[in-house]
């Protein structure tokens, strides 16, 4: 008779303990809380002397499917209009490649005069060497081709003249290389499957894949329109790869890559807020 009563008592005790634990857990509450935060980032440059900004143009190269100079200027101007306090100047986009070539020809043009005026052979050799270093590649395919164009940004007289023309704004220029890339190799990806009990299982799988995509390598140069001197410059590299079968237009890849870089560009000249979440602990 007393036999069946015992399990009843013990199950009651377990229930009481479980209820007690649950009540305690509820009373204590969770030990961590996810919270959204916004981190303000100070600008990397002091742009307080400027009220206006001129995105003048870029020395661009790589893929011919995108007019990288035009697209970069348009995108940066529109971003600056909405996300910075500076007034954006709408001016014709400069073809800086042609300007660099003209400047280069101008410098090289002095050489024959020297020769005709009886320059010594040793000096002539040195002039030839200078002309060689000034040679600008017709087609910009990689970073090496961009290097000779760098001296355009050091031409303070030229930038000062541009600055005077637009009433001393902050000048944004630089180089942009947008090139296609294809690669093949093993890629690790997560494969989703369901086990015999219907539970979702995710396993990493290595798979050989042929992929193609694009690389974007911009260098933003910020020039003081009052003096023509470079205030600050920064370089970035972003890459995107797709399955070889996937046919993604070059322009949409360009925008996808620029989208990643724009916050960095903006943070150079205006304070930004970066949103995120953190876990508070008790």
């Amino acid at each position: 008779m007393t036999g069946p009563a015992k399990p009843k008592q013990s199950s009651l005790a377990i229930a009481v303990i479980a209820a007690g634990c649950a009540a305690l857990a509820l009373a204590c509450g969770p030990d961590s809380y996810e919270i959204p935060i916004e981190t303000p980032i100070q600008p990397k440059m002091d742009v307080s002397p400027f009220q206006r900004v001129l995105v003048v143009g870029f020395v661009a190269g790589g893929s011919e499917d995108v007019d990288t100079n035009q697209e970069t200027v348009r995108l940066l101007r529109s971003q600056l209009r909405t996300k910075s306090s500076l007034k954006v100047i709408d001016a014709d986009i400069l073809a800086l490649i042609d300007i660099a070539k003209e400047q280069s020809l101008g410098t090289a043009g002095n050489a024959p005069d020297d020769v005709t005026s009886g320059t010594a052979p040793a000096n002539r050799a040195s002039t030839d060497k200078t002309n060689q270093t000034l040679a600008l590649p017709q087609n910009i395919k990689d970073e090496k081709d961009l290097e000779p164009y760098e001296r355009l940004f050091a031409n303070t007289a030229y930038w000062k003249r541009i600055g005077e023309e637009f009433q001393n704004p902050l000048i944004v220029t630089g180089t942009v290389l947008f090139s296609s890339r294809s690669t093949s190799g093993f890629v690790q990806r997560d494969q989703e499957s369901y086990d015999s009990l219907g539970r979702r299982v995710v396993r990493p799988v290595r798979q050989y894949m042929e992929r193609k995509g694009f690389i974007l390598r911009p260098k933003f140069v910020f020039i003081d329109g009052r003096t023509g001197a470079t205030m600050y410059s920064e370089s970035y590299r972003e890459e995107i790869l797709y399955n070889a079968q996937q046919n993604t237009p070059a322009l949409s890849s360009y925008f996808e890559l620029m989208d990643r870089l724009v916050p960095n560009f903006l943070s150079a000249l205006s304070s930004q807020k970066i949103r995120g979440t953190r876990v508070l602990l008790k």
Binding site: I35, V279, L281
Partner: protein, 118 residues
């Protein structure tokens, strides 16, 4: 004879010390909880004040340093945030949540200094 005296003295010392220590810990905990409460309402400066107080009351309180670091991040005081995260990790190097917060913080902090300045 000496051993019981030492034991008794130690027990007495522990009894005398533990209530105040427990009080400090409990006070630190309530400061952290209050800080969380106000931070959730967007009152981050008040939260900083509470969490600073908690770290003074209990300098071994990992959660207080973690929360303080987050608040400094939100206020854009990145140097102070780094110091607070460093302290939290020093106190509890295996705390996954603190490490996760720190990694996210580092991503932002590195992003600001990533660009090659001329």
């Amino acid at each position: 004879m000496n051993l019981p005296v030492v034991v008794i003295a130690a027990c007495a010392a522990a009894l005398a010390a533990s209530p105040s220590f427990a009080d400090a810990k409990s006070e630190a905990k309530s400061q952290v909880e209050f800080g969380i409460n106000v931070a959730q309402r967007g009152l981050w400066r008040e939260a900083i004040y509470r969490w600073q107080k908690a770290t003074e009351l209990d300098p071994t309180y990992v959660a207080a340093y973690n929360d303080l670091a987050i608040a400094y991040e939100h206020e854009g005081q990145l140097d102070k945030a780094r110091k607070a995260y460093d302290k939290a990790i020093e106190l509890d190097p295996n705390n996954v949540q603190v490490r996760q917060n720190y990694e996210l913080f580092k991503e932002i902090n590195d992003r600001t200094s990533q660009a090659k300045a001329k």
